[in-house]
């Protein structure tokens, strides 16, 4: 897949009360946005278990969009702040795993903000498109061993420099 034709796959987590309805509103108003985000409805962004994000990324998503009510407007009073805290720590962990923190984005969108939802979605898809595919763990395991057999391994990269080795061979 070349960079130009790369179509990111993105999982979006939405809150039943705001962002999911914003998505509904974008639909009702026939606003067009990038088709790459597949939504999951939860009751609240506070339901977001970091496991879900990790699962999505490890199972083939190129990015994850987390959406919730604006700070102070949570249907459950303050649970979106809890989502915010988890998100900030999760980003640090993802960074440590070599994943660009931009691949996971937190967006606040109220039920009235269909246009914002559509715009943020399209913008996020473009951001991920620029970052390229994540394809998590696709090169793992067996393939490695073949490479070793072919002598094309990092294990032997410095082998030619080894004069000692040559001596032994002689």
């Amino acid at each position: 897949m070349t960079h130009n034709t790369f179509e990111p796959t993105i999982i979006g987590f939405t809150c039943n009360w705001c962002s999911y309805r914003a998505a509904d509103l974008a639909g009702t108003a026939r606003m067009k946005y990038a088709p790459n985000v597949r939504l999951i409805r939860m009751m609240c962004s506070g339901r977001l278990d970091p496991t879900f994000v990790l699962r999505a990324l490890s199972e083939g998503a190129d990015g994850v969009m987390i959406t919730g009510c604006h700070p102070g407007e949570c249907h459950y009073i303050e649970q979106n702040y809890k989502a915010l805290r988890r998100y900030l720590l999760l980003k640090r962990v993802l960074k440590g795993m070599g994943i660009e923190p931009e691949r996971v984005k937190l967006v606040w969108a109220s039920a009235a903000e269909g246009a914002k939802f559509a715009a943020e979605t399209t913008a996020f898809v473009e951001e991920i498109r620029k970052l390229g595919p994540l394809s998590w763990g696709k090169d793992e395991g067996g393939g490695m061993k073949d490479e070793i057999k072919n002598g094309d391994s990092s294990l032997t990269i410095h082998a030619e420099r080894s004069s000692f080795e040559k001596e032994v061979a002689a």
Binding site: D49, P50, T51, L54, R55, L57, S58, P71, E78, Y81, K82, L84, R85, R86, L88, L89, L90, R92, V93, G96, M97, G98, I99, W136, G137, K138, D139, E140, G141, M144, K145, I148, S153, S154, L155, T156, I157, H158, A159, R161, S162, S163, F164, E165, V168, A169
Partner: protein, 326 residues
């Protein structure tokens, strides 16, 4: 005829073997009830002897260590084939443990570090290679794989016994159980179960007092003086992994005045240990402004080491992206 017993040491430190020894006289029960057919650390054995065994002829194999190279993988598959019950024994086999942290680096970097850092005297830049011709024939050393894997990423595992190492009293209890099963006095737990553990997390066994937690600062334990000996460590701002770590160790570390670092892995049924800690730590942060939250999070300077110290290879993401790419 006594049922057959095997134990193997793959990529790990050997602590698990010591832990078995540490069961004291209980180890005699092993000998009394089993015919030990393969246990490289305790007796001489050859792989070809194992290969010659009938499939499924070993009743119980305790496999400690994770899969780092192709030799580990080969023996894991061999023992799976020959064993009725294969137990991932110890944190390395269960979830990668400390060796799993190597998954943060590309394998080339690891080799380079081992053979070419300032502390390594390697003037001729000699690096190992996997096969080598000598007059006597071709020599092999096992090939390192890109990433380290827990046992169940390679073969089907019947039971998991976590811990770094598993507590000796838990090992003794498991040995007792298997002996009873052999005698027909007990039944095996369902396949896939984690054994030798409690059914909750470390806090369940921790004697420290706990309250509703609100943290405005995370600190290293050495930066707090004095540490309240009776109060929950997390409440004192020390990132203790106890809330997310499977019980079974009798809260050894918190009892000794140190925070739990998570060697018993996740509670049963949990998909990703690190995620549980991410959510636990962030849940107790007392702040709503992003900058303030970030400031508090700065108190956990090595988030990966904190939440995945024993679990990285067994986590959903398994390794750093660069390690996969290498």
């Amino acid at each position: 005829m006594k049922p057959k017993f095997a134990m193997y040491w793959a990529a790990s430190c050997g602590g698990c073997e010591i832990a078995v020894l540490n069961t004291h006289e209980k180890i005699l029960d092993v000998d009394a009830n089993f015919d030990v057919v393969f246990w490289p650390v305790a007796m001489d054995a050859k792989y070809k002897d194992v290969e010659a065994m009938e499939d499924g002829s070993i009743l119980l194999t305790l496999f400690n260590g994770s899969i780092r190279n192709d030799e580990n993988e080969h023996i894991a598959k061999l023992l799976r084939q020959k064993s009725k019950i294969l137990v991932a024994f110890g944190s390395c086999a269960c979830e990668g443990c400390i060796p799993g942290l190597a998954n943060l680096s590309p394998v080339g970097d690891i080799v380079h570090t081992a053979f070419n850092t300032l502390t390594t005297d390697n003037p001729h830049q000699i690096y190992p290679r996997t096969s080598f011709d000598v007059p006597e024939g071709e020599l092999h050393i096992p090939k390192l794989e890109k990433v380290l894997r827990p046992l169940d990423h390679v073969v089907d595992v019947d039971y998991y016994m976590p811990g770094c190492p598993p507590e000796s009293h838990q090992i003794a209890a498991v040995i007792d159980l298997v002996i009873k099963v052999v005698k027909g006095e007990a039944e095996l737990p369902p396949k896939g179960a984690t054994i030798g553990v409690g059914n909750s997390t470390v806090c369940d066994e921790c004697p420290r007092a706990r309250n509703v937690k609100t943290i405005r600062e995370f600190k290293r334990i050495q930066d707090i003086a004095p540490v309240d000996p009776n109060l929950c460590l997390l409440e004192q701002g020390i990132p203790c992994n106890g809330p997310a770590t499977c019980s079974g160790c009798n809260a050894r570390c918190p009892n000794a005045g140190a925070q739990c670092i998570g060697c018993y892995g996740p509670a049963q049924g949990v998909m990703d240990y690190g995620a549980r800690l991410i959510t636990a730590f962030s849940s107790v942060i007392d702040a709503t402004e992003p900058q303030e939250i970030e400031r508090i999070l700065d108190g956990i300077p090595d988030p990966i080491g904190q939440v995945y110290r024993f679990n990285l290879a067994g986590s959903l993401l398994k390794a750093n992206r660069n390690a996969f790419k290498s």
